[in-house]
Symmetry: C2
Subunit: 197 residues, 2 copies
Amino acid sequence: MQEKGRLIVISGPSGAGKSTVVFKAIRDRQDFCFSTSVTTRAPRPGEVDGREYFFIDRERYDQMVLQDELLEHAEYVSNGYGTPRFFVEQKLSEGMNVVLDIEIQGARQVREKMPEAVLVFVIPPSMEELRRRLVGRGTDSPEAIEGRLLRAREEYAEADFYDYLIVNDDADEAAADFSAIVRAEHLRAQDRLYLLK
Amino acid sequence: MQEKGRLIVISGPSGAGKSTVVFKAIRDRQDFCFSTSVTTRAPRPGEVDGREYFFIDRERYDQMVLQDELLEHAEYVSNGYGTPRFFVEQKLSEGMNVVLDIEIQGARQVREKMPEAVLVFVIPPSMEELRRRLVGRGTDSPEAIEGRLLRAREEYAEADFYDYLIVNDDADEAAADFSAIVRAEHLRAQDRLYLLK
């Protein structure tokens, strides 16, 4: 029996280090992939359909929304973006774990449409540390940094529906946390009752 | 904030290798202990009160049962055995994970009295392998082995309320499964919401 993969949603404030944690955890692993989104925006030079995004027109996008073919979707700068259910289901059925890096609103939609998804929220050890990291990146103005910190606070207040909470103090430890979560989720008895037959 | 430990109940058929898996997983770990049971049976030479068991008289035992001071209890050969809630709660509050190696009936009682306990069921890769292991131990008669296999089948049929199912094919992998489960359980968001304050 081919065991199904898990859909793993990962969220957290900008600067928490989500990507680092996930990349450390899944590097050298053949059983993980990232979800590929659909978008109505035009491909940029070098972007390949099915790699960066599935590029679709607005008509198809609206149809996917209406027919519940997207696990979550949102509009940014007049373009639609979404996570196609067919892609995720296909990968899961192949035994791949699918990682989906999205914001809280998207995670809430996924929870509703695919309750068995595993929701992981990554936070920095403190707001002071988050500020230090954002300053250290050197990409944001002081005002933008204050905005991000405010946004992080707002996110925290909404994040109580996640399944797991990782504090990214040390990235290796946080990656080990992530790996342990995925490993444990694969051991859930409710999905393995066939082993007791 | 001192994080509480987890009560981890481990069960599985005789010959599945539960003890080996747990010992491999928790050796060198200071944050694990085994639960110490109460019993009405007399101490044997060399047994120390509070180490092998807490030795208590029948009156005290019956009182503990009546006052719901035992997380689970059972009678064997006219003696009462049980897991004292005070001991477990004390260790958990010190941040220790408490491991409780008991049978399914006891696990069911624990689930009821302490729903947050983590229930892990360990099985061998197959009944054929279980038979091989029991024969290899050389401690049971052929009849006793058939009895154990029958009992294992019965246990499987009742084990659907466990949280996790570990297949002990390779003991190191199974120990890593056990460790991942405990690590993931410590990351559950519902127990860490204070981190979002």
